[in-house]
Symmetry: D2
Subunit: 334 residues, 4 copies
């Protein structure tokens, strides 16, 4: 049985708390927040949850083995560092840090302290994302030619971050997981349509060393919610639509094949169209799986799927996107 | 009554021929093609159509007032020039020419000869595209923040051109028409997935002087046919889905407004969500309207909606896209 | 401030309890259930909720002004009667009673005792259903020709009732509300596909005195969830799709008009097709509105929208459906 | 090579003529119509088609081996009879005859004359319908519990027939083909919303001896085009949506199983949910296959898939539907 501390009871924290309270391996959850009303609300809903007087008390508490950080992005690195310095394992919400340097520092500190550092890239624990990873690894799709992802909605503008730091961590973590690599170049065009200085739409292009290219489109300003990703491979193609309840993944047995030129030197293209299959996907809450994985990692020493390196790769790509946006779409090499 | 010549009876030519045969202002259609079987097939279907022995005979024929050029892209400029030199009005299929210089030369020649030069950007005669142009001009949408267009399918690979020159002319002509301007920068990432040297997918980003940004995604390698364009404005947003039969346009009365900061300097965002309206759109064949417009223009001297300048703007953007693709996504300034 | 008792903490009761706990007019909620574990679970989640030792204690408690009955259908009438006899207002989940006679008895008892009797036809408090009622009453649709409703899913088989008593109360209450009348005939064909004697699919046809006809299709055995109702009127038509999040209602400005025969006695039909509008619908939980309405009714003496007569009409139609099912589809006159 | 005569060049006849002109086994097509302009229009489009002076000349012509009857329904039986009497094979558009007696007479006459009689139930030659027949016959779906079909649109009102005789022949022929039997009872509720005496909407329920039940909903008055049929079996379920271009059939590996009661006599239901597969369907024009089948049958003596008995079963069900409509939904036993 483990004892968990949670810092931040705002928008996302309560989801972490609920999962930890319901987790059979957890026997104590302690929380803190700058706003005592938020703590009170949590305790009303989960009477077994304890409140720490503040962050410092929480990280030093003997009743806390590991800490989850669910605070505003700008504080992730600073708080994460204090948790590690206090000798506790830490789970930090995505994105890991505001800069690659800060992310790197966390990685090194965790290594030095021999503590677990995990990042909350929850989609990597989502059944459809895992299923697609399996299809790609099993080469069902053949070589991945390109990926096109769209994550748009009439969404809540964030005060402290752009749409890039708010939404792109989802798609970046998913894409890098699927392809097993981070991009070698990033370029992006965006616009701060509503609030000066805070981009709310971005068109991001990426190249990978393995040959794949990707487009990620994110926006807080869109007429309807779209969460649609297309993966096109040499053997099959698939569409992952996270807004669908029944058919989240559709695998199309489609492709074009290039036959060796015949004696007259003419190339021959052959089109193939077969069944469309929407595989039955397991149905569980990704966040629950993520919490269990964190507990497993820090109790056994296992390397987290979404470790610090994973978080760093995403931060680097976010920073490159920002740099490209500021330079009018210039290609940034990573 | 006018007499029309058509060069090229391949994939697209028969559509032009059918519309001209059925046009009440046309009393003679003469055609030619390098392949006599294609001409024979046309004549079997339309017994009143005459065949010229070849291109030279056709352009010189006294029974031809104006010539439609529906041949492979690489021949557009050369054939168009000969038509103009023969003193005939000319309609050239999109894209107008393989280079901006060649397009410019056609424009100047037509001006010098006082002949009509029109380009086959048929979507600019399509009822939903015209309807959206009206909405934008009437400021229903407010300021256009961004446009995102997708035109993908498991499509026929072209032998002589990339997916850019095949599909992007549609979206480029539509976007430049709606916004009333051409882009100031273009950048693009693409890949020649199947045939070496012939890109079959491209992610194209564009900035316009008026402030709008746009993304155009085109592909011959996609699991399902998508022709979906989103236009996001400060007052309303719309989706134009050309694969829908009933609801091609949906106008969303949605938006985010930035209220002046209150006395405490906090910004206030106000979200608005109202009705969604799918306006009844006129139902006619764009190509028929285009043919009538061409006839009207060359008989009255009216400037075509899709004149040489319109064709040139598209060619320049295509060339910039190619240049960016070749330079790994570099931003090209127009 | 009022004091509410809730009988039944199983599948549906917790929803009633949650809404009453959160209702600002309620200062005490007391519950009971045959299963003490269910009561304990409720108290864990809502620590302010009191538990009565049993139903008899609950209905006699001075700390209870009105009782909500959320127990299995077969017990609705019996428990409801006891509540009224104890001098308390009563809200009974749909369907009101297993027979029309039992429903009638409840109505008379409530009238005699001058107590409020309300039935839980929650859909009549749902924003889209209310909006359609307004459209019909304002004659936007013209005369209602017919209604076709589908409520199917791979649903949970009930142990004690057929799909008719489980799902049809929704559509029956909605249809009778919209049309302002109950049917004059009912006929139904069904089948007990999985469990002998418990129909799990039914096709129900109904005629109304006002001329409208209706079809209601319900099933627990269907590949995907459909909750789609079409209302066809002489002036407009609409589709209400409760599975849609964004466009629950679409109003089609479509129709066929019969023009008076001309001098040659030929009838003339004229088809009309205009805009499709998806009106913005208010967004609130119907159950919350229903609970507030119940409180308003029993505190002020106002007649509930879903009063005993409303519940009786649904029970009569359910009984007629059963009778027709048993008689192989025979038309039952009400 | 065979010689085909076609009676009727109105709405549907031209489709038959086009297919016969393009059929490699046909060396002469002769047509007739009461309206000489329709004949002229056909000859303009298909110069090789000959015109007979009238029906009598056509059926007696030595240049005609078999005759296709594509005239108004009321004339099918009379003209079909004359064709057979003239010693020619006959293909009659659906429905075969206005009454079961007339259909029976045609069957007997064809048998007596040893001539082929085929009915134009084209959907039985449609690739998705055939594919579903194969699935049912292979017992992929298990026992068919029920079928629900919807064929509605804002459709052209017919002058001489109701929506039942216009649209139900499609679904009746499909359902009887799939189930391998005709219904034992039919009941229907409908309404003549627009034109007095001509029903334009009908809700039809049917029982089959094998246990399956079916609902067929047809309407000329509906906001959007739906052609959706659900087949629910004990092992799998499928949806056939003829308006889809890509995924006409979806097979859902879903079901509910009734496990034998355990020792305590409790029934156990087990729900199963697996992949959804949209099989690749062959893509050809059903009408072309139907024409080839007719030629094969009358040249070889093979029994047509859509023979007179098939046509008779549909006519009987249509007549029963009419009888039920007139008797207010009474169950008609066949």
């Amino acid at each position: 049985m483990v004892k968990i501390g949670v810092v931040g009871c705002g928008y996302w924290g309560p989801n972490l708390i609920r999962n930890m309270v319901e987790n059979s391996q957890v026997d104590q959850v302690t929380v803190c927040d700058l706003d005592p009303r938020k703590v009170a609300k949590i305790q009303q809903r989960y009477p077994t949850v304890k409140a720490a007087a503040g962050f410092d008390e929480l990280v030093r508490s003997a009743a806390v083995d590991a800490v989850l950080v669910a605070t505003p992005i700008s504080t992730h690195a600073k708080l994460g560092k204090k948790v590690l310095e206090a000798g506790k394992h830490v789970f930090i919400e995505k994105p890991l840090a505001p800069t690659a340097a800060a992310a790197q520092e966390l990685i090194e500190l965790a290594a030095y302290k021999k503590l677990t550092l995990m990042v909350g890239h929850t989609f990597m624990f989502s059944p459809p994302v895992i299923r697609i990873k399996e299809e790609i690894d099993r080469k069902t799709l053949g070589t991945v030619f390109y990926i096109s992802a769209m994550r748009v909605n009439l969404g809540l503008h964030q005060k402290d971050v752009s749409v890039v730091w708010d939404l792109a961590p989802h798609d970046f973590s998913i894409l890098f997981y699927w392809l097993g690599e981070r991009p070698v170049t990033v370029s992006a065009l965006g616009r701060d349509s509503v609030l000066r200085g805070i981009p709310d739409v971005a068109f991001i292009n990426m190249e990978f060393a393995g040959g794949a290219i990707a487009h990620v489109q994110i926006s807080w300003l869109s007429p309807s919610k779209l969460r649609r990703t297309t993966v096109v491979g040499s053997q099959k193609m698939l569409v992952y639509d996270d807004t669908e309840s029944l058919e989240k993944i559709k695998i199309f047995d489609k492709g074009v094949e290039y036959k060796n030129p015949d004696t007259f030197g003419e190339y021959q293209l052959s089109y193939r169209t077969g069944d469309i299959v929407s595989p039955q996907i397991k149905n569980y809450e990704p966040l629950g799986a993520e919490m269990s994985h964190f507990i497993e990692c820090f109790t056994t020493g296992k390397k987290p799927l979404t470790d610090g390196e994973c978080g760093l790769r995403v931060v680097e790509a976010l920073a490159a996107t920002d740099a490209s946006l500021k330079a009018g779409g210039k290609v940034i090499r990573l």
